[in-house]
């Protein structure tokens, strides 16, 4: 904060006050309704932030020498926010998992029912946990690989805080009953619009930093981060087109309906997976894994194939969510075929990551942080294989609507997304707070085993329940009638729901241990401030790199 220039403080305050005014208007328009509560939330957060700025108004302006260093404060805050969302959202995950095993484990209150909590979990993990991790790491990676400082000090804060405001408005909205019901795009029109603004600024940070880069070439990690930012913007804008019933109400109606809406939604939904949960995290992997392993990327040509393969083919695959539905069959064919070929660039990425570890396998053995990243690459390979398999119409006729999908999701989400994030964060925390090591490498080890066993328990129980459920639904007696009623399958799922809750609990415990470890590392750094004990060796800013052969 004290690093902000006076102009930046002024603009920051103005933005806060504008947002506060919007919050006030919303609160007034939606008096006595959930929309009003959303307005109040916005108002309070904006006022609190204004107060924060005003309290530091008189701090001396920063000195110019600051510009010779990378700007990492937003990344630091982003790391803490990432861990915070991880714990909250996974706690809700365990809760909804428990609700399916013990439906009475709730209150007689609307906000506490499964249907409202579930999107809190999904948005919380994907956008809260995943999104903050992507923003925090992308700022870090962008600067190092461009050898350029972020273009200014205000816009990264705007992105980080604005984005978290979006997450808070979204999650609290679900509890209040505000939702568009589109999976992974549930927030209503005003939150959607706000995210567009935040995203444009995020995009501009990338463009402006890259424009000032000292490296002639753009590094692969940034290709992925750029694809993530750009494509998510396209998906978000198209899928969320809607007409509000008035500007004073939360409710809107989607521009699309029926079959066109279904295709648009799953074009979005599938590519939210592709560009949010895959591209973005591949960007993360492309920096932290080689860096931590101290090895060069295995193959640049392979990076090329996987990047463009993924970017092109993923966008066709969404219709595999709609096999055998009222969506015309020709679209299903395209979705299935592209999903199958998609496996090649996907495994190329996973293979590229694993082969990068050649020459560093001893480190994988000893260093749980690197092991997190290694296992993440393995799970990435597994879940993309599984995904391509499930995209086959015949397989999907069994797996769709069942817990198999949930198992696939969490193989990807826990095994790939969460593990690569934890690995990267452990590496990053140490560099950001300039520590020779994390507070407790032992606890990283504990976290690793909790996470791995939790994932395995979760995924295996869902595979079991999903396949059993799918088979029971279509089992026939020899006289040609259905052998099981729907209720039979509900009862058969119970043991698996209990097991899943347990697996999730292990994973959550791991995340809590990790958060503690991160916070203690930060605390240690504070206590021993001035003792610059180590950390990442950054090449200096500004000096153009010599590029042999050019």
């Amino acid at each position: 904060m004290t690093k902000l220039t006076v102009t930046e403080r002024q603009i920051g305050l103005i933005i806060c006050l504008v947002v506060a005014a919007i919050g006030l208007a919303m609160a007034a328009a939606g008096r006595g309704e959930p929309f009003g509560v959303q307005g109040f939330t916005v108002l309070l957060l904006a006022l609190a932030l204004s107060g924060f700025i005003i309290a530091r108004w008189d701090a001396p302006p920063p000195d110019r020498s600051l510009l010779e260093h990378y700007y990492d404060d937003p990344t630091k805050v982003g790391i803490v926010l990432t861990m915070f969302w991880a714990v909250i959202a996974m706690f809700v995950g365990v809760w909804v998992a428990a609700l399916l095993a013990w439906p009475e484990l709730t209150f007689d209150a609307a906000w506490a029912s499964f249907g409202r909590l579930r999107p809190v979990h999904t948005s919380g993990v994907i956008f809260g946990f995943g999104g903050n991790a992507l923003i925090a790491t992308s700022f870090h990676v962008l600067q190092r690989t461009s050898r350029a400082r972020l273009p200014d000090q205000l816009s990264p804060w705007f992105v980080l805080i604005g984005y978290n405001l979006f997450c808070i408005v979204a999650a609290s909205g679900y509890l209040l009953g505000i939702t568009q019901s589109k999976e992974y795009a549930e927030p209503e029109w005003y939150a959607d619009l706000w995210l567009v603004i935040v995203w444009i600024v995020y995009f501009l940070i990338f463009v402006r930093t890259l424009a000032r880069r000292k490296e002639p070439h753009i590094y692969v990690a940034n290709w992925y981060y750029m694809a993530f930012i750009l494509v998510v913007a396209i998906l978000h804008i198209v899928n969320n087109l809607a007409v509000p019933i008035s500007f004073g109400s939360a409710k809107s109606y989607s521009a699309f309906s029926g079959v066109q809406d279904a295709m648009t939604q799953w074009w979005y939904g599938h590519n939210a997976v592709a560009f949010f949960l895959t591209s973005g995290f591949l960007g993360m992997m492309y920096y932290y894994l080689p860096k931590r392993a101290g090895r060069p990327i295995f193959s640049y040509p392979l990076s090329l194939i996987s990047f463009w393969g993924i970017t092109f083919m993923y966008m066709w695959a969404g219709s595999h969510h709609l096999h055998y539905t009222a969506l015309p069959q020709w679209v299903q064919t395209l979705g299935m075929t592209f999903s199958l070929v998609l496996l090649v660039p996907s495994w190329a990425s996973a293979g590229n990551a694993l082969a990068t570890l050649n020459g560093a396998w001893h480190k994988v053995r000893d260093d749980a942080t690197l092991r997190f990243m290694m296992v993440a690459a393995v799970f990435y390979g597994l879940s993309t294989f599984e995904g391509s398999f499930m995209a086959i119409r015949a397989v999907n006729s069994l797996s769709h609507y069942t817990d198999w999908t949930i198992g696939h999701v969490h193989g990807g989400a826990l095994g790939w997304v969460a593990m690569i994030t934890f690995g990267s964060i452990y590496a990053l925390v140490q560099w950001m707070w300039k520590r020779p090591a994390i507070y407790s490498p032992k606890l990283v080890e504990v976290h690793f085993w909790l996470a791995l066993s939790g994932t395995i328990v979760y995924v295996f129980s869902m595979w079991n329940s999903g396949i059993i459920q799918g088979l029971m639904w279509r089992t026939y007696n020899e006289n040609g009638t259905l052998a099981y009623s729907f209720l039979d399958t509900v009862e058969a799922m119970h043991p698996y729901y209990v097991a899943r809750t347990f697996g999730g609990l292990l994973f959550l415990l791991g995340a809590i241990v990790g958060t503690y470890n991160v916070l203690m590392t930060i605390r240690q750094a504070r206590l021993e401030r001035g003792v610059e004990a180590g950390g990442e060796v950054d090449l200096p800013l500004g000096r153009p790199a010599a590029q042999p052969g050019e």
Binding site: K291, S299, P328, T333, T337, L539, Q547
Partner: protein, 289 residues
């Protein structure tokens, strides 16, 4: 091509670029990757030729196989129907007594009946058909509309107080709410009715007073002996089975506010043979008890 440093571990050269210490090797794309890309592309081409695949303005390529998921399932369902016809047609054709005396056929009834019942009826009547508050116990043999399988099948088909035009219609009047009886009279008749199946339901005076109220108001439907009348769908009040509960409070509410249970008609959702099969299944449940 850039020629960078040679990596001692793999013996490959790097691309010559470096980003904050990260380098890339120039390892060529492994052959398997290209191989599988080619296989994948070939598969796609073949699949697109055979299946409906590409949009063309206002139509799409139908594929050489003429594959259509809707026609396929229509055919599958028809084939399955034909397969089931082997025994389902018998159920359709034979009368109830004949089916009941055929143990092989009755096995099919039980198997098919269980799932049909669980998916359609269990929501109200319970998975064991023992009913619940507001929904009659079908194993109790205390039939509202008659327990002959023909009657049961008819009930299932047209429903009770349902939206079907031919529905069975029944109604327990709201004696209290509509001001037909005062509170005292209702209390008395409730005591009387309860005393029919519970010895210590209340004082003798109340029971006697209730008997008179009953004779004046209820016999038209429930009959002189209170054993119910199948023509009205009025239940037997002398057995210990209650649709709406037998506590003082429950029976009082029944008489005060009336009742009109709604059993959906199934002739729009199930075939006549399935309904017949369910009637047999339901009848059998009572026997098993």
């Amino acid at each position: 091509m850039d020629v960078g440093r040679r990596d001692p571990v793999t013996g490959r050269t790097t691309t010559g670029h470096e980003w904050n210490g990260i380098e890339e090797l120039n390892t060529p794309v492994p052959k398997v990757v290209l191989f599988f890309l080619a296989i994948g592309a070939l598969f796609c081409l073949g699949y697109w030729l055979l299946m409906p695949a590409w949009p063309l303005g206002s139509t799409y390529t139908k594929g050489l196989l003429g594959n259509d998921q809707r026609r396929i399932v229509d055919q599958e369902v028809a084939t399955a129907k034909a397969q089931r016809a082997a025994w389902l047609d018998k159920i359709q054709a034979l009368d109830f007594a004949a089916i009941k005396s055929d143990p092989v056929l009755m096995q099919d009834v039980t198997k098919a009946g269980h799932v049909l019942f669980s998916d359609n009826c269990a929501a109200c009547h319970g998975i064991k058909a023992t009913g619940g508050p507001g929904f009659p116990d079908l194993t109790a043999k205390s039939w509202l509309w008659g327990g002959e399988p023909e009657k049961i099948a008819e009930t299932i088909g047209i429903g009770i107080n349902s939206t079907n035009d031919d529905t069975r219609v029944s109604q327990m009047l709201a004696f209290g709410r509509d001001g037909i009886l005062d509170r005292q009279k209702i209390t008395d008749v409730v005591t009387y009715v309860r005393s029919l199946s519970m010895p210590d339901a209340g004082s003798v005076e109340s029971i006697e007073a209730g008997r008179e109220v009953f004779a004046g108001n209820c016999v038209a439907c429930h009959g002189k002996d209170a054993k119910g009348m199948h023509e009205q769908g009025a239940p037997d009040l002398t057995d210990s089975h209650w649709i709406y509960g037998g506590t003082l409070q429950d029976v009082y509410s029944t008489v005060y506010s009336g009742r009109q249970g709604h059993m959906p008609n199934w002739n729009a959702r199930l075939t006549p043979a399935e309904i017949k099969l369910l009637a047999l299944y339901v009848g059998q449940l009572g026997q098993a008890k």
